[in-house]
Structures are given as C-alpha cells and as structure tokens.
Symmetry: D2
Subunit: 191 residues, 4 copies
C-alpha cells in the first residue's frame, strides 16, 4: 500500500503557499483514494497534494485546477521531479474548467479565490455517490461558508476538525517548538 | 490502497484511554506499512492502532503487547468486531514479551508504563534497517526521554512534531469547538 | 495593582460552563478596567468573570446579565464567597435588561444565546467612546457573526486571536498534557 | 490599575526574538506585581517584558539581565521610548550579575542560554517567601529541566501550562489564521 508524507522541502515551491505535510497526509487519507480514483484538486498551488494523490491513484487521474501561471509551472516541474504522468493541469479560475471533466470520486478544495460557494455547488454536481469533497480552510469565512453550504444541502454527511501542528526543531541539544498555521479540514460525503 | 480512519466510537473501548482518530491516522501513515509488514504495537490499549495496522498489513502480522487484562480483552473483542486474524496479543509488561518476536518493520510505542528507555533499547535491537519506531508521547517526560535516547543513539534519523486536533461539533446551527489532547509523535528511522 | 487569576476550582460552579482561568485573565486584561469602570458581563454564567472584574473595578460596578436561574444563583453564591458587593445581577435574556443601564466602559460578551447580532447592536449604543467590547467566541458562527458586524460597523477598531491552553498535570513523576477548549477573543474599541 | 498589552510592533525589536503580546500578558499577570515589586528579568532580550513590568511596579525596580549587547541596546532604546526610569540593565550571562541584587518579589526567566539549572538555583536563593519565579520555556529541554528542578526542590508549589495563540489577520473580507509559536509557562511560588 501507499503511504503519504513527502517532505515539504522535496517539492519545488517558489513563493506559492503550500499545504504542510501533516495536513496533506490527513487530507489525502480522508480522500479514501484507490488505484482508479478520479480526483479534482481545486486551487492546486504547488501541486503537492496533486502529486501525492496521483501517486496513490496510479491508474486514476488527477485534475489540478490552478488559476495562477506561477502555480501551473510549479505543478509541471513537480510532475517531472516525481515522474508523475496522471495529472492534467487546468489553468482556469475554478469552478471554470470543471464542465467537461468526468465525475469525481474525490474533490479536494484548497484555494477557492473567493468563489467557494460556486465551487461547492459545482462539486456537488460532479461528485459521485459516496464520493468525498474535502475542504482545507485557512480563513474563518471559508469555514463558515462551508458550514452554511452544508446546512442548506442535505445530500452530504460530514465531519470537520482543525489541525495544529508544531514541529520540534533540533538546535544543538535542544528541541525548539515551532508552530505551523492551523488548518480546518471539512470532510463531506455524498449520500 | 488502504485508507486509515475508523471512527473512535466504532471501537469497543471500555474505560481504557485510546489514541484519537487523527493522531492514529498520522501515526499509522508514518509506519509506511505494506502488505507483509511485521509490526509491534507496544502498550496497545484498546487495540485501535493494532486493528488498523493489521488491516493494512493484510499478509503481515501485528504483535500487540498490553499489560492490563482489561486492555487484552478489549483487543480481542475488537479483533472479532473487525474480523482481524493477524494480531497476536501478548499480555506482558513491555519490553517483556518481545524476546522471541521476529524482527520488525515498524514498532509503535504508545503506552510505556515508565519503561520507555528499556523499550527503546529493545526496539533498537528488534527493528530492521530502514524500519521505523514511532513514539506517541503524552507526557513531557516521555518526550524528553525519547530525545535523550536519540541524542545517545546515532543509528536513527528522526523527526518529531506535536498534533493538536479540535473538532467542530455541530449543535443546532452552531459548530462548537472541542479540543482533543495534544500528542507528540516522534518518527525514528533505523539507518 | 490588581492581578487576575483566581483558580477555576475556587469558584462555585455547579454544571454551568465556565471561562477557563487563562482565557479569563486575557479577557479581563483586554478590558483595561480601572477603579471606576462600569462593566457589563453578558451571559455571565457562573459569574467568574464578573467577580474578577468587580474586584478590579473596586469603586465601579459590574452588571451581570444571565438568563438561567441556575447561573443567577451561582453568581450570588460567588459574590458571597469572594465578598463582592458591586455586582448587580440581571436575570434577563440579553440584550433585554440593558436599556436602563448607565453607559459602559467595558462590555464582556460570553454567552449570547443566539442573539449575538442584537447584543452587538445594543452594545454599540451603550459603550463609551474608547470603551471596549470583548467577545469570547466558542463557535465558528459566533466568530463569523462578530466579524460580519465589524465589517458593517466601522466605528470600531479591533483585533482578534484564538487562545489554546494545555495544562501540564503532574501525575507521579510525569506531566501529562491536557487541553482546554480553544476560545476566540475579539477585542473591539469604539472610535 | 494597570493593564498589560503593549503591541509587539510598538517595541523597538531589531532581530532579537521577543515574547509575544498575549504570552507577555499572561506571564506578567502571573507575577502578581505591585507598586513596589523588585523584579528580575533574566534573558531580557528586547526588554518588552521588563518595560511592562517596570510600568506596573512604578515605585519598584526591574533588573534586566541580558548577555547580548544587541539586546542591551534595544532595552535602552525601549526604556527611552516608553519613558521608563526604573530598569537597571545588567550586561552579564545569568546567573552572573545577580549576586548583589536585593531579594526579589518576582523573577521572570525567559532566555537561559543553557544555564537554566544554575539560574534556577540562584533564583531559589534570591526569591522572597511567597515570591514567584515564572519561566517561559520554548524548548522541551528547558521545560523538562524546570520540572526536574521542581521535583528535587520542594520549597515551591507550582502550576504550568502551554499557551498557543493564533491571530486572525484581516485580509480583504477574510480573516486568515496565523499561528504564533507555543510557549510553556511554569509558575513557581516559594513556600
């Protein structure tokens, strides 16, 4: 079986923000990815999540939607670095670019660029029965919008939590505690 | 591939403390378990980690070492509930009970009952090259003992972090934030 | 000068939820209480915040608004225990009960019982120039409502943060880490 | 009465690490400072804690011990900026420089430069009965050393906790959550 957990500094990153390793592990694991999964990664950024998802869904496909050309280039470079062939990059502002995609087993929503409600509406139509939409929220407003959506759309069951990771950085004989930013993860399953 | 994440309330628990779901996911994922892995679960408690490890290592084996008979009984019940056949329960105070075990791909150390240094010494001998010892520490003293061990034993590379999970509990139209206890995870790889 | 920090178990509590000590310290300190402050404590619960506020505003007054009779009785008992005379208890559902109160230097909003928007509107009218409204939010929806209010009402400057406290509980020779629930604190100053 | 909470960016900081605002508030409040308090600030850094302590102990005195000349200069500049006259700066490596100081009501230990055990031993001799030693630990080893000291020296009662603050940074219509590093606070009272 596949384990997740490529280290953050193994990815080519530029200045694009990246989901940190442990949050990426938890997010990917919630996706219940299998060999043939069809996956969207919305707001793919550096592509770190896409890469690990594509390695897990080895006979499946990842559609990485990213609006910024800087991100698109990083995803390409990371595909090359990790020798990943089953990612299709879509340089659009989501939910644009999803119309012609096959229905999904799993939709990861990282960045939403202010279109979260529209992205959720489109995701609701494109997700398979028992498929999973997994939202990573870094603002209170995205978290609240997600909850509002789930209050109004009863065809999902869901659970959600916040993850706070601090690293113990070895410095001489000491371990200095350094915080990563907390991230909220909302896991929605189509019922 | 296998995903982790059985919900806490699916396990039969009694009053035995249990590693919580997200920490269990991260811990198991760090184990880089494959189909044939030989795994020790030291201080197995309710067996929640053992069960998920055994489901992942479907042709491998999990040795669950637990000193309390209450825990032993819970592990048995959980094996039955989840139809898991590849766990061997060892009712001993670790590191007792490890002598005759085959060398391990992965050793999870949850509870140590005050014997952490001895458990680490034995684990060091029983772990394969490139195998992983993963410690879950809930006290400062266990965390510090682990770091002391790693300072003195240079045949491991390691990284470590603390995970803090808060759940968003839906109550009417609200999501109330409830904290789980923070857990430190130390991942040691034999080099 | 006065320090805050009565221990949680010094208060008479019953089963009413209570703001925990460190959050209470931070909340009270943000109030910039002085000897003569007029303070409202909305959703006063056990009265723990009211008691410490009243001890600080020794020539001032605290109006503790609490809808539940169980809470009202606890506040009375705590006033007696701590020999505090300058708390007036108002057994109403806020914002009811605030009409005839003198304008406030400081308004603490703990529990809002679903009326947070109305409570904020009334607080806006009753708070003095340079006075402070300090909200303790335990749900995402209260936090979001507070931010919406502040987006629409520009006569406040504000800052906000979340506090997560874990205690080191001594057990034998160990210190076990136990989390308190995270609380968001929003500090609004009338400008 | 005095409130704490000067904002971090009001201090002149250079590149010297600084205790963050909310941790500073909690630390100072635990000091139970009064008008005449004699205070040591060991590892004073930028002097942010010293400044707020000196403003609270307006007829008392703060001895700020700092080994780095860069820190010493920042403390001087901050004293000038905040018009504080009751800080004496001691440019030594603690516990050096404490011999001739008057006994203390309150000793804050921030940076220890590897000498924490010695600093604690000296502090034990210099602290008054019912006085308080308050340690801010950012490494596991300092935290563990503090607990070891307290296990061996029974003339203190103590409590301890970790504080994790995340700020809600307003960005357009969003509030982005940003973590500060977690800090452990150990409060020791001489009995």
């Amino acid at each position: 079986m596949v384990s997740f957990g490529i280290f953050d500094d193994e990815f080519i990153r530029g200045n694009v923000p990246m989901t940190k390793r442990e949050v990426r592990i938890l997010t990917l694991n919630e996706g219940k990815i299998n060999d043939n999964s069809i996956i969207y990664d919305i707001g793919a950024g550096t592509g770190s999540l896409s890469i690990e998802a594509a390695l897990a869904a080895k006979n499946g496909k990842v559609y990485a939607i990213e609006k910024n050309i800087e991100g698109v280039n990083l995803i390409k470079q990371n595909c090359e670095k990790f020798n990943v062939k089953n990612i299709e990059i879509i340089n659009k502002i989501a939910p644009d670019g999803t119309d012609n995609l096959p229905v999904a087993d799993c939709i990861f929503i990282g960045g939403s660029g202010g279109n979260l409600t529209e992205i959720l509406s489109v995701s609701q139509k494109k997700i398979k029965l028992s498929g999973r939409i997994i939202i990573n929220a870094i603002t209170i407003e995205s978290l609240n919008t997600s909850f509002e959506f789930l209050r109004e759309n009863k065809d999902f069951k869901y659970y959600s939590f916040e993850v706070f990771v601090s690293r113990y950085n070895p410095i001489g004989n000491y371990h200095l505690k350094k915080a990563e930013n907390p991230i909220s993860i909302i896991v929605c399953e189509k019922i």
